[in-house]
């Protein structure tokens, strides 16, 4: 009933500019969500092309395509673009679309700031891409831009630093907006402990972002002043310490890892119950587990630095704290399994990606446990094992959860069903090629192949060849995804979706809004019992 009423309202209020001005001036959370998603998908393709440049060079031993310096630019920019350009903005896009609809709010709390936090991103992305063309090229010190290597680079490094500043500002504004919206604009009756888990995970993530983005800004600003204004924060000759950069960077960097996965946990926690037709098992323990992971993320940063030579007590502390994270993460996985248990499951594309997520993400969790054990980490730190590990949690984790979320909510966004057959193809191709690409990297790491090298010894040749083939397969599979997106959005093809196309879905956007969701939804707040 209310869906019909809302639809009527929507027509009266759609007096926004059209054409390009609609997108530049928009303050509508759905428009801004769409902008975020298209932006992140574009950056995903750019970062993917850089990755294929890396894998092409590594297909065979010897230098075939690039100079070592350009290879370093490829690895560094692939990391920066994927982390700050693809994964993070994609989750903010989901938050923009979904948080207001899931809590029964008409829009985000600060609509104009919302516009601004998006439109900062293309500026930052331009700085990053332009940096390839300045003398000396783009950032080549890795996405971690460790000093003093980063103080050696050319002007590309400065552009990278400014881009990080801008993206940080954008993230902070986005987070303030999300927190304010969630805390103040929930429908009557929706207590905190009744919020959908996706909203919960984003609330916690937003706090993490506000806590650590300024830390990153501080670190890169210190690099900047070391480079140009004669300070010596990270220069021992002037009384500084290069290792201090790593401490500051990872104090940001480890929570950052959870920033990129917690909203993914949220998406999976919506998808699994919907397709198991059974409520989420252990809702409150899921909330507590998410909060525990977030808190622990602040006291584990130095496990990225087991080889810098810390005092033994420090090493032991960070090792113990790190293995502790396995407990709340395990609770999450067990709860998802318990949700599936004795459900009535169907396996449409969102569910495939969600189950696939649990399977491969857990493998990334296992390798994380191996890496947390300091003595083993001595062998594996800065090898391909680490590359394998974080791609298992970032690609199979974050990216697959984003895919699951896209297929799950796109009927609500567009009012049309995506192509189910192609969606299933997308899942299987992604899943298979992902494993062909990244599973062999565990072996390379155990055998001792360092990361970030453009050429390698002959005993690493076999698995590198396999990984490169897998990478090209994975890259091509994403073109299929591009086609699926275009088909259901721009071309508007696919059968019409009802208000609630998924039998087991029960959050407000499904129960109270039509598909596609009206431009302005929830003028009158729904009441949650």
């Amino acid at each position: 009933m209310s869906a019909v009423i809302d639809h009527g309202h929507a027509h009266d209020h759609e007096h926004h500019p059209s054409g390009i001005m609609r997108w530049i001036t928009t303050t509508n959370h759905k428009d801004i969500g769409t902008l975020y998603l298209w932006f992140s998908f574009t950056m995903f393709l750019v970062g993917g092309i850089l990755a294929l440049g890396i894998r092409a060079e590594l297909f065979q031993p010897g230098l075939q395509f690039w100079h070592p310096e350009f290879f370093n630019q490829l690895t560094s920019m692939h990391g920066l673009i994927m982390v700050f350009g693809a994964i993070m903005p994609a989750f903010v896009g989901f938050a923009n679309w979904q948080v207001p609809m899931m809590i029964g709010a008409p829009d985000m709390a600060f609509a104009r700031m919302n516009n601004w936090s998006f439109w900062l991103l293309p500026v930052a992305a331009t700085l990053l891409v332009v940096s390839f063309f300045v003398p000396g090229g783009a950032v080549a010190a890795g996405w971690t831009i460790y000093a003093p290597l980063s103080t050696q680079m050319g002007p590309g490094m400065d552009l990278g630093i400014f881009a990080l500043h801008i993206m940080g500002a954008s993230s902070i504004m986005g987070s303030i907006n999300i927190i304010t919206t969630i805390l103040n604009m929930r429908a009557p009756g929706m207590t905190l402990m009744k919020m959908p888990l996706f909203v919960w995970t984003w609330l916690i993530t937003a706090y993490l972002l506000i806590a650590v983005m300024p830390v990153l800004a501080g670190a890169v600003t210190m690099v900047l002043t070391d480079r140009h204004f004669g300070t010596s924060f990270f220069n021992a000759a002037g009384g500084g310490d290069p290792v201090m950069f790593q401490h500051i960077f990872w104090f940001f960097g480890h929570p950052e890892v959870y920033i990129m996965i917690l909203p993914g946990f949220g998406i999976i926690s919506q998808v699994i119950p919907a397709f198991a037709r059974k409520p989420l098992f252990g809702y409150s323990s899921m909330v507590y587990a998410t909060a525990s992971i977030a808190i622990l993320s602040f006291i584990v940063w130095a496990h990225h630095m087991f080889t810098v030579g810390m005092p033994t007590a420090g090493v032991l502390f960070f090792m113990y704290a790190t293995v502790l994270i396995a407990v709340p993460t395990g609770v999450k996985v067990f709860n998802w399994l318990a949700t599936m248990w004795r459900g009535s499951m169907t396996f449409e594309t969102p569910m495939l990606f969600a189950v696939g997520f649990i399977f491969v993400f857990t493998m990334g969790g296992f390798t994380g446990l191996i890496l947390a054990i300091m003595p083993i980490d001595i062998q594996l730190q800065d090898t391909y094992y680490v590359v394998a590990h974080f791609h298992y949690v970032l690609v199979a984790g974050s990216l697959f959860s984003l895919f699951a979320g896209f297929y799950f909510w796109v009927p609500k966004w567009t009012g049309r069903m995506y192509d189910e057959t192609l969606g299933k193809w997308h899942f299987w191709l992604s899943m298979i090629f992902f494993n062909i690409t990244f599973f062999p990297m565990h072996f390379l790491g155990l055998a001792g192949m360092p990361r970030r090298i453009p050429d390698y010894a002959l005993q690493f040749a076999g698995f590198n060849e396999i990984a490169s083939i897998g990478a090209f397969g994975f890259g091509l599979s994403q073109l299929l995804f591009l086609w699926i997106i275009l088909k259901v959005t721009v071309l508007g093809r696919g059968e019409k979706a009802g208000a609630k196309p998924w039998e087991g879905a029960d959050t407000l956007e499904w129960t109270h809004l039509a598909s596609p969701a009206p431009y302005h939804s929830f003028h009158e707040q729904p009441v949650v019992k």
Partner: protein
């Protein structure tokens, strides 16, 4: 006959295939490496059990609780006992894992009472070794990649130890505790030898330490493990572990060599002598960027052939080689090379390709310029 050739061929092939697919930690040569291996195997067994348990349940559920076979959903969604159970059990498993790990950590960190202490200094992009204490005290040399450029660019067949071979390997005696002090000259590097279970970052301006006691003679190889710029992938570490007698002989040999190689600082060199020596220095230090042709790499590394620098007075040239160029890949070679080597390489550069200045730079000029 034919059969045995075929068999030999097959053997060689499988050998090559095995070499190309090395997939596990290398055979441990030290007790620490063996402990790490052990820990890894134990952890993998525990993980395997968890893996089978968790995903056994998941795939059984996927099989049995499908709508398509008519399974009806139940509606339970809470059970505190179960939640406590699967919080506490993993916690116990983790404590069980952390205990042996702690013992190994303490073992790794124990760098006390070494037999020999060696300082390893990371340079962009080679290693320098100084024997500080113990047998061989005073020996000091640089260790750089010896794989020819032509193998890297594919003009020549790649050798067996492609990218893992150096001109001067680190030599140590078997069964002795070797303490390695790491530091660096420019950026952070990392000294890694997997067979020893050793990886220690080398940090400019700071000294860190690690140790190993190799239990078997042989040649062990590793690489720089921390991104350090352009040639990060081209600064391997090679350690030769030899018997006590061989080590003593090597030490004596090194001492003799270094006495003989010490250049008479007052000697006057002629152009031909300096050019010949300079060519070797150039090949070892400059060729990766400035190229054998002296043309550099367009947009990245400047050409030396016909460079404006050659037309300038030699003082500027000497200064750049000694002190490097900040914010570029040009390193300060003053700390790495001797006066004679620097004089030789500058003479070579100013008198090669189309550069014909005829200038002869004497080591004494470098010595003067250092001040």
């Amino acid at each position: 006959m034919k059969k045995s050739i075929a068999a030999a061929g097959l053997l060689a092939l499988s050998g090559a295939a095995r070499a190309a697919y090395q997939w596990d930690l290398p055979t441990p040569i030290t007790r620490v490496a063996a402990e790490i291996d052990d820990l890894h195997v134990k952890m993998m067994w525990i993980i395997l059990v968890i893996f089978v348990g968790v995903f056994g349940v998941m795939f059984y559920s996927i099989y049995a609780h499908r709508k398509s076979i008519g399974h009806k959903a139940e509606h339970f969604h809470e059970n505190t006992t179960v939640e406590i159970f699967w919080t506490v059990i993993p916690l116990l498993v983790l404590i069980f894992m952390a205990w042996p790990a702690t013992k190994t950590v303490l073992h790794i960190r124990d760098t006390t009472s070494p037999d020999i202490t060696i300082k390893a200094t990371g340079y962009q992009w080679k290693w320098g070794y100084d024997y500080l204490r113990g047998e061989g005290e005073g020996i000091s040399f640089l260790s750089a990649l010896s794989t020819p450029q032509d193998q890297i660019t594919g003009k020549e067949k790649k050798g067996e130890h492609y990218l893992l071979e150096v001109d001067n390997p680190l030599v140590v005696p078997v069964a002795k505790k070797i303490r390695i002090l790491t530091t660096a000259n420019d950026v952070i590097h990392s000294w890694m030898v997997p067979a020893f279970g050793v990886k220690q970052d080398a940090i400019p301006g700071f000294v860190r330490d690690t140790w190993f006691r190799a239990e078997k003679e042989g040649t062990y190889r590793g690489q720089c493990a921390e991104l350090c710029g352009k040639d990060h992938g081209f600064m391997p570490i090679v350690v030769e572990v030899v018997s006590a007698e061989k080590y003593a002989a090597w030490v004596a040999d090194q001492k003799k060599k270094s006495a003989a190689a010490a250049d008479d600082p007052t000697k006057k060199w002629n152009l031909a002598e300096l050019k010949a020596r300079g060519e070797k220095v150039y090949a070892a230090n400059c060729v990766a960027c400035h190229q054998a042709s002296g043309q550099g790499v367009k947009g990245a590394f400047p050409a030396l052939d016909g460079s404006p620098l050659i037309k300038e007075p030699k003082g500027r040239h000497i200064e750049i080689v000694l002190n490097g160029r900040p914010k570029t890949a040009m390193a300060a070679f003053g700390k790495q090379l001797s006066d004679t080597d620097i004089a030789a390489v500058i003479t070579f550069e100013r008198n090669s390709w189309s550069n014909k200045t005829g200038e002869v730079i004497q080591p004494s000029e470098i010595k003067a310029a250092r001040k």
